[in-house]
């Protein structure tokens, strides 16, 4: 373990991609492991910030624990489509905001959801910033955030059918949306 830890920071990213097991557990992930919160490690993102993958049923306990650990600020919540036929992903960028914080500790949490029934609990009750962000993720990807106080479409018209940012979305053939010549 000590060997991998000393090697990890100077390892090139290409080597990291070849074997996911070499990903070094960051501070937040180690703390979660010590306290028995089950999660999966993912490759660090391009800024070197640790990314963890969480099962939807464990999102609320782990988020509560992370909030208590000090991640008091939900910098960004969003979603993306992993590809045609693949999972939908709801992600959370967490930050430890403190007085005179210069390099605040960061963490990315990702939840992979089946596109047939994408449901996961809302983190609104932990970070209030998730309110409109989860509404937008619902609006664009149809991810249902259970327990959200006001889960309605945010950007699209209220009677819109479909989830526009999914990869398999087909635009309706409205006259207004047809090409202008």
């Amino acid at each position: 373990m000590a060997d991998t830890e000393s090697n990890a920071p100077e390892q090139p990213s290409a080597e990291e991609e070849t074997s996911a097991t070499l990903v070094e557990a960051g501070a937040a992930s180690s703390w979660l492991n010590e306290n028995g919160f089950d999660h999966e490690l993912m490759t660090r993102d391009h800024l070197g910030i640790e990314v963890i993958k969480v099962e939807p049923q464990f999102l609320i306990p782990i988020s509560t624990a992370l909030y208590a650990y000090g991640f008091n600020y939900l910098q960004c919540q969003g979603a993306y489509d992993d590809g045609p036929g693949k999972d939908l992903v709801s992600f959370y960028h967490l930050l430890k905001v403190d007085d005179s914080a210069d390099q605040p500790e960061e963490l990315r949490v990702k939840v992979f959801l089946p596109r047939s029934n994408p449901r996961l609990p809302s983190v609104y009750w932990i970070w209030k910033a998730a309110d409109w962000q989860e509404r937008e993720s619902y609006d664009m990807y149809g991810i249902i955030y259970e327990g959200h106080p006001n889960l309605k479409r945010l950007l699209m018209p209220e009677d819109w059918v479909g989830w526009p940012l999914r990869k398999d979305y087909i635009s309706p053939d409205f006259y207004e949306l047809q090409d202008a010549y």
Partner: protein, 247 residues
Amino acid sequence: MVMTPPSATDRASLAPGEMLANPSAPPAVTHGLSENVILTTVDDLYNWCRLSSLFPLLYGTACCFIEFAALIGSRFDFDRFGLLPRASPRQADLLITAGTVTMKMAPALVRLYEQMPDPKYVIAMGACTITGGMFSTDSPSAVRGVDKLIPVDVYIPGCPPRPEAIIDAIIKLRKKVATESMQDRAYTLQTHRFYERSHDLKNVPPILTGQYLQTGNHDAPPKELLEAMGMPMTETVAELAPEREDT
């Protein structure tokens, strides 16, 4: 007799109230008239009044309005064309569609246009309102050209167009207004200058009810979530916070 001024003799020889038929001096009344009266047609006068006070609706939905706002400001100063931005469509007779129009904005735009009094003019400003612009490839919501919704008089290309381009469009629109005639008004009633078709949409009750924080949903989490969190947030923080110092 020669030495006496004509006016004196006239006045002396005329009976009170009588006017000289052909006075030798320049006629004072018609001279004054020719310097102070303009002869024109009612059409020209009416058009001149209208084109000198085109009141645009203060309408902007995207980055084009930044350029439009620059035009309102002192550097480009479109008040010199008699353009005063109006906040109400009832007082406006020019609509400059500055910015992308989406499917959600489309009904509002058509409604604004219909609320404007006749005669009214539309300038489509920028690529988005002409063809959809950069959103025309795969946007699920951008209307591909505002002329699918309302009739357009002048198109300004650009992304966004410079304020000078808007001035150019306004000058072109002024030329159009200047050539209009009241006699043609009966023949230029608006027909269907744009394609229209009913969408057969289902009516949905509005989701924005004005009751956002008042719905009571924001007070406490649902029971299932509360159980998943284990305990209220404050107690969790109190319990787990000391461990943060250890690690």
